[in-house]
């Protein structure tokens, strides 16, 4: 199977110590049974074969090859989201981990995006619960029925399907990057901040924005505060932009379970002065309203798809393509945003399932260049923001969470720090 358009960049930019991945986990009410989990995984992969693919190197492109084997189910580790060594993983692009009550699945971005991964996890957990407790869970398009055959729409490359004719440049101004002491061992720090989802929703509604816009504004001001502490002269301040992935399934009709997301970068220019919270909210809200439209997103999709279809690029051998993609990514990839905030939104499980699932988390793996990134997911009335960082200093997390507290949102933190 060919890689979908968004997935093309990930095998080119991965290396020995970095892969683009993300993690979704569900915490149940009782300890996980490994054997039942294995059977559930087998059935889920039969229903969702686009996840049982191995990444292979072709002459001109990478491609995916289906495998009937099973990805390993391993005990979880203290530093999740470290790079995925495809060789050690039997070539699979995902891995399933469990620890006490929690089932976690880590996906290499080549396979799918957050929404697709969430559907996989929900289906896996539903199968597990059905096998373990004989729970009769009603299936839908979010929790798939493993007795059904796979549907071709789920493996569609929706980028190609929704590509148009007008393109534009990808270049944007480079943003400020948070630096710190890189962890020499490559340890990934995770800090989870959980808050009452209704409180956040109410605060956002008061200001007339969505929860994503609200959190993005807080994050922008947090990065801005850090930059002002580290950079002395106002003229040397760089723009602060946050990369916000947009689920294109909400804009275009698609049922694909592979990648179908694009990114916008709302932000501020700190050289122009100090921004108040309301000012930032206004900017983010109207930026999203302008950029997250069918027409403009179509232009972005088309630019990427035309790149893929370009005749000159297609006949270039893979190693040249990889080098070119690495270079382009270094210019227009992480460089144009200070950090990422990926919000999967509210996850609702059917009641028969929800009584066994206490908590759900969404954690991004470390980014290529940015040292800190954030991911959010709301389940069961709790909004959890997971920060992933590869530096020792938790400056951004502290700034972000203390800012939320000052705005009147109590936060509870948890981390993976060692004793």
């Amino acid at each position: 199977m060919k890689l979908d358009n968004a997935a093309l960049i990930y095998p080119a930019t991965m290396n020995r110590s970095w892969t683009a991945l993300f993690r979704l986990s569900a915490t149940l009410t009782e300890p996980v049974d490994e054997d039942i989990l294995e059977v559930a995984l087998k059935r889920t992969l039969r229903r969702l074969p686009s996840f049982a693919f191995r990444l292979k190197r072709g002459l001109f492109w990478f491609y995916l090859e289906h495998s009937d084997a099973l990805p390993k189910i391993e005990p979880d580790v203290g530093n999740p989201c470290v790079r995925m060594r495809l060789k050690d993983n039997d070539g699979f692009c995902m891995r399933v981990r469990f620890y006490e009550n929690r089932i976690a699945v880590e996906f290499f971005h080549v396979l799918t995006d957050g929404t697709g991964g969430l559907i996989f996890l929900q289906t896996l957990v539903a199968e597990y619960l059905r096998l373990r407790y004989s729970a009769g869970i009603p299936r839908s398009n979010r929790v798939l029925d493993c007795a059904e055959p796979p549907r071709p729409q789920e493996a569609e490359d929706s980028f190609a399907a929704h590509s148009g004719t007008i393109t534009q440049t990808r270049k944007e101004i480079k943003a400020y990057h948070i630096r710190g002491t890189d962890e020499s061992t490559g340890f990934v720090h995770i800090i989870t901040g959980s808050m009452n989802a209704d409180v956040v929703l109410q605060k956002a509604r008061e200001k007339g924005v969505t929860v994503t816009e609200y959190l993005t504004a807080v994050l922008i001001l947090s990065v801005d505060a850090i930059q002002r502490k580290n950079v002395a002269h106002v003229s040397r301040l760089k723009p602060v932009k946050i990369c916000v992935p947009i689920n294109l399934r909400n804009v275009f009709p698609s049922e694909t379970l592979r990648n179908f997301a694009n990114y916008v970068n709302p932000g501020i220019d700190p050289r122009l002065g100090v921004y108040s919270f309301d000012e930032t909210l206004n900017i983010v809200h109207h930026f999203m309203a302008m950029e997250v439209t069918e027409k403009l997103l179509n232009v972005k999709i088309t630019t990427n798809v035309q790149t893929e279809r370009n005749v000159v690029l297609r006949v270039m051998p893979l190693f040249i393509k990889n080098a070119a993609m690495k270079y382009v990514y270094s210019q227009v990839g992480d460089a144009i945003s200070s950090t990422t905030l990926s919000n999967l939104g509210v996850t609702r499980l059917p009641e028969e399932m929800a009584k066994y699932v206490r908590r759900m988390d969404f954690i991004l793996g470390p980014l290529a260049d940015n040292r800190v990134c954030a991911a959010a997911l709301t389940y069961n009335g709790r909004l959890r923001v997971n920060f992933t960082r590869t530096i020792a200093e938790p400056t951004l997390e502290r700034e972000f969470f203390t800012r939320l507290i000052k705005l009147g949102i109590p936060v509870k933190v948890q981390s993976n720090q060692m004793e």
């Binding site: 999740p80 470290v82 800090i191 993976n416």
Partner: protein, 236 residues
């Protein structure tokens, strides 16, 4: 329920200290309670250490002794003494300095260039010592051109470094200018060596196109719309 006295966040019961600021958990009422298990196991996935460049470079340097030894042995066996194998030694020295030294030692960029130029200079000196005669070619041609090329290399490395904040097209212009000046300099020293400075002559064939191209790039740099079009075609 414990709170961090510094940040104000609520801390999960299993946290040994505040993850945001490192402050110890201060909650006299909860001191005696047993802490629940941590959300992540203590077993940490071991990451391989990065490729040890220094080790590989040192290893390869050692391997370089093999051709050197072979050359020297052959030299002694055939000619009875070491003569041309010194050239091999000189060549290997340059290979080591240019390719392997950066992997072994970290130093400022200018020092690399100086050491490389020094190695080439030593090799040229070796050639001179092995063939006693006129020192003119070395002093008027060899060493000055080495110096020029070293200067050029240092200038290019500065232009290519992330510290240089000039726009890309301006950098290409400066590179072209440097190429032009390098060629002019080479012709000057050739002229000096021949004791007949009739300069610049053939270097003009290089200088003029460089100058024109450079100006064209400078003009191109001023047109933002044209730049955007080109960027689009190059998929930036």
């Amino acid at each position: 329920m414990s709170y961090c006295v510094n940040c104000g966040v609520e801390l999960d019961k299993s946290e040994p200290r505040c993850p945001l600021c490192g402050t110890e958990v201060i909650n006299p009422a909860a001191m005696q309670e047993e802490k629940p298990s941590r959300p992540y196991p203590s077993h940490v996935e071991h990451l391989d250490r990065r490729i040890d460049r220094r080790y590989i470079a040192s290893f390869v340097s050692l391997l370089l002794l093999i051709p050197l030894f072979t050359a020297m042995l052959t030299n002694v066996m055939v000619s009875g003494r070491l003569s041309w194998s010194y050239y091999v030694l000189g060549g290997e020295l340059i290979a080591f300095t240019v390719l392997l030294l950066p992997m072994i030692a970290h130093m400022p960029r200018i020092l690399y260039i100086v050491i490389d130029a020094g190695a080439v200079g030593v090799f040229l000196l070796l050639i001179q010592v092995m063939n006693p005669g006129d020192w003119d070619w070395l002093l008027l041609l060899g060493l000055p051109i080495t110096g020029l090329v070293a200067l050029f290399a240092w200038y290019l490395s500065w232009l290519a470094s992330p510290k240089c904040r000039l726009p890309l097209l301006i950098r290409f212009t400066f590179t072209l200018a440097a190429i032009g000046l390098l060629v002019v300099g080479i012709e000057f020293f050739i002229g000096l060596y021949r004791h007949a400075i009739a300069w610049p002559q053939w270097s003009l064939y290089v200088l003029f196109p460089c100058f024109v191209l450079g100006s064209a790039l400078l003009l191109l740099n001023r047109r933002a719309r044209l730049k955007a079009e080109i960027r689009k075609r190059f998929y930036f």
